[in-house]
């Protein structure tokens, strides 16, 4: 096995409870996004575009669709002879098996996987954020700063800072303390959940953490505080571009709408930083004479006969005549009949909406989710 400078560990085991029926049979990273992607396409594409060719994907919750989606890794150019994408579920050893108890424990249980590649650094990322990031620049920063750990941070508006894990730093970007959702934030630098660790250091902390029965075995709650307690050199790496946690129905909807902004920071059309995905292989989309399409992202395999405004249509969607779709995100293979009205909604994969149905959110109400969990199965 060839040595790798850096190995990525992608945390994809979360249940994503706040996404409701969207994740009843599906791991959160496998949720659809942006018309032809699943959330996990973003961190995976970031890896491959950053030149990282070895990615362990830690799965635990409902991995069937995710595993099948990851398949052989070829959509992300991660079907490599050495390295590539490896799915890492919990497993049984001679002394029995245990489920992943937390994010840190998940990596701890896979120390053997990491050590096969003898990396100097490990990138820890998660499968539920939408962003484009060059991890290679992060690594350069980490090396230049001779850090034990580097955490990517984002400046968030001060009035939202209390919703995030906030990093307090000294003037040299070194992290002095970390507070999860502080009532009175002293900084507006929020953790993006993207870490680079010097492997040797991380390994020691993982082992110590595992030996501590009081620990919740979590990166944010246990590992980082323990390292800060030991005055380890942990640096904050400021990130300026688009980043969004899509952990709720509302934020998933918002992130889709963000793509429609004229000055969207998340350029999907950048050929030097492609977001790869499994291609559904559908014919070109057909926009009928009766259709009216404005400010939309529409995908292959769609057949649009109605009006669509400020919406994202995933592949294989059908919109019947006389229907009006506005401010909505339609997941793959949704069938909308005639004279349907949908506004401010997410329509789940494969949902069928009968002629004449009307879904309109009250002003200020939650984003509607249309389709049953049965329909949301893949």
């Amino acid at each position: 096995m060839k040595r790798k400078e850096i190995v990525a560990m992608l945390l994809a085991g979360g249940e994503g409870k706040r996404l409701g029926p969207l994740t009843s049979n599906l791991a959160k990273p496998a949720v659809h996004f942006g018309g032809k992607y699943r959330i996990i396409d973003f961190p995976l594409s970031n890896c491959t575009n950053s030149g990282i060719d070895t990615v362990g994907v830690l799965t635990q919750y409902q991995p069937l669709v995710l595993n099948s989606y990851l398949g052989i890794g070829s959509p992300w150019d991660l079907d490599r002879n050495e390295g590539g994408v490896a799915v890492l579920p919990p497993y049984v050893r001679q002394d029995g098996g245990e489920w992943y108890k937390g994010t840190a424990n998940a990596i701890y249980q896979n120390i053997g996987f990491v050590e096969r590649y003898q990396p100097e650094y490990v990138l820890v990322i998660s499968g539920d954020h939408i962003y484009k990031m060059d991890y290679d620049l992060l690594l350069d920063f980490h090396k230049k700063e001779q850090a034990d750990a580097t955490i990517a941070v984002l400046e968030v508006p001060w009035d939202e800072a209390s919703r995030f894990g906030i990093m307090n730093t000294d003037e040299g970007n070194r992290i002095t303390s970390f507070v999860e959702k502080p009532a009175e934030p002293k900084s507006n630098l929020a953790s993006m959940g993207v870490y680079i660790f010097t492997w040797e250091v991380l390994k020691r902390y993982l082992e110590e953490d595992e030996a501590n029965p009081a620990s919740s075995n979590d990166f944010g709650k246990d590992i980082i505080p323990a390292m800060l307690g030991d005055e380890r050199r942990i640096m904050a790496y400021p990130f300026q571009d688009y980043w969004k946690d899509v952990g709720t129905i509302k934020s998933l909807w918002e992130a889709n709408m963000d793509l429609l902004e004229a000055d969207s920071q998340l350029n999907l059309n950048d050929r030097s930083w492609r977001i790869y995905s499994v291609n559904p292989n559908q014919p070109a989309q057909y926009v009928a004479a009766s259709a009216h399409v404005r400010n939309c992202l529409i995908n292959e395999g769609c057949l649009v006969q109605g009006e669509v405004e400020h919406s994202v249509l995933s592949y294989g969607v059908r919109i019947g005549e006389g229907s009006r779709i506005k401010d909505s995100f339609l997941m793959p293979n949704v069938k909308i009949g005639r004279n349907v009205v949908i506004e401010k909604a997410i329509v789940g994969e494969g949902a069928v909406v009968e002629d004449g149905a009307v879904y309109r959110s009250e002003e200020g109400a939650d984003i509607q989710l249309i389709g049953t969990s049965d329909m949301l199965d893949n």
Binding site: P75, P283, Y286, A289, R294, L303, V312
Partner: protein, 370 residues
């Protein structure tokens, strides 16, 4: 269908596609917003569980190599069997002028090495989505020596195609080249099913007599000796080897019935090379009607009755009508386009007006800057 070999024969394929085939074989002509012509027959073979396909390349096949690659998109990147692009083993240039039987003979190793019993031989310029399993089953059930696929159609054909005549039992009594005199409404898809050993025998015996043309010599000359039956294909068919035919059959896809019939009704997908393009972006000012649009486009102008391939940019105020705009073209602001076919990577500068007629569309070759 472990027992069937597929052959896509590109040797001397009839080609009147003018600029579209100046630098590419007819097999790799872009079609339908995201496909190449060969995708249709190749996908049909794969969907019919034919796992071993040879493409007999002849000339200008570099873009074809790039398109089919290892065959992965068609699930033909296999250790055993899979996809074989066989270039001509040319020692002398004069050999390039020989008929296709000569190439069958040169590539005979492909047949000898394989264990399959039957062969399906096809061309690349037939736009169809055909279940070849049913053709082979019919062939076997009827005890035919050769089965030829045809379509019954009274419509005039803009492409150049052979026609066949059959008797009451469906046996083929005559096969006529496109210039031959016939009232037959049976259009040949140039798809043939036969036993592999019969094919090899026909190749050797025809060549031995100095004949080197597959359809004319190996098939037609033997129509009395062999039991040749017709098989009626009922799906959508486009014979695409002339510009008018290319234009017509492209525009056919704007009929949702045909679009659905070709791509969805059979339950079998047409595969093509993956490009990882994002969804198409329609801006606030865009107006699109009755058009086929591929991913990766950004449309700020008007598009009507047109086909737009992957990665095309259409500027504000541009008006595209009855046109075909291929991959990665850039259409400037306020351009007006009507009855035009733009090959890949064409750039049309701001304010230009280009107009052809439906019978003779305006044609811009690859990479042209206008």
């Amino acid at each position: 269908m472990k027992q069937v070999l597929g052959v896509i024969n590109l040797v001397n394929e009839l080609d009147d596609l003018e600029e579209l085939t100046y630098n590419r074989t007819i097999a790799s002509v872009p079609f339908g917003g995201r496909y190449r012509l060969i995708d249709f027959i190749l996908s049909s073979m794969v969907n019919s569980d034919i796992h071993s396909v040879a493409v007999f390349a002849h000339t200008k096949y570099r873009s074809l190599m790039d398109h089919i690659g290892s065959g992965r998109e068609w699930d033909l990147a296999r250790k055993r069997s899979g996809l074989f692009l066989l270039p001509p083993a040319v020692e002398e240039v004069q050999e390039m002028l020989k008929g296709d039987l000569y190439y069958f003979h040169k590539h005979r190793d492909f047949f000898y090495r394989s264990s399959q019993e039957y062969v399906v031989i096809a061309r690349s310029h037939m736009v169809c989505n055909i279940n070849l399993k049913e053709v082979v089953n019919a062939h076997i059930e009827r005890g035919a020596d050769i089965t030829m696929v045809y379509q019954q159609s009274g419509e005039p054909q803009l492409g150049k195609c052979r026609r066949i005549e059959t008797d009451a039992e469906g046996r083929v009594t005559d096969i006529l080249d496109h210039f031959g005199p016939t009232n037959s409404e049976k259009i040949s898809l140039d798809i043939f099913v036969m036993r592999k050993d019969l094919l090899l025998d026909l190749v050797e015996t025809s060549l031995a007599k100095g004949y080197d043309h597959f359809t004319r010599n190996a098939i037609m000359n033997n129509r009395e000796r062999l039991k040749i039956y017709g098989y009626a294909y009922k799906g959508y068919l486009g014979v695409v080897n002339t510009i008018p035919a290319y234009f017509k059959h492209s525009m056919d896809l704007l009929n949702p019935d045909i679009w659905t019939r070709l791509f969805y009704d059979t339950g079998n997908q047409i595969y093509t090379k993956i490009k990882d393009e994002p969804p198409c972006h329609y801006t606030e000012q865009s107006h699109v009607a009755n058009s086929l649009i591929a991913n990766g486009c950004r449309i700020e102008g008007e598009v009507e009755n047109s086909i737009v391939f992957r990665g095309v940019k259409i500027g504000k105020g541009a008006k595209i009508r009855n046109s075909i705009v291929m991959q990665n073209c850039v259409i400037g602001e306020d351009v007006s386009l009507e009855n035009a076919i733009l090959d890949k990577d064409v750039t049309v500068g701001r304010g230009s007006t280009l107009k052809g007629s439906p019978n003779a569309p305006f044609l811009a070759p690859k990479r042209k800057r206008i």
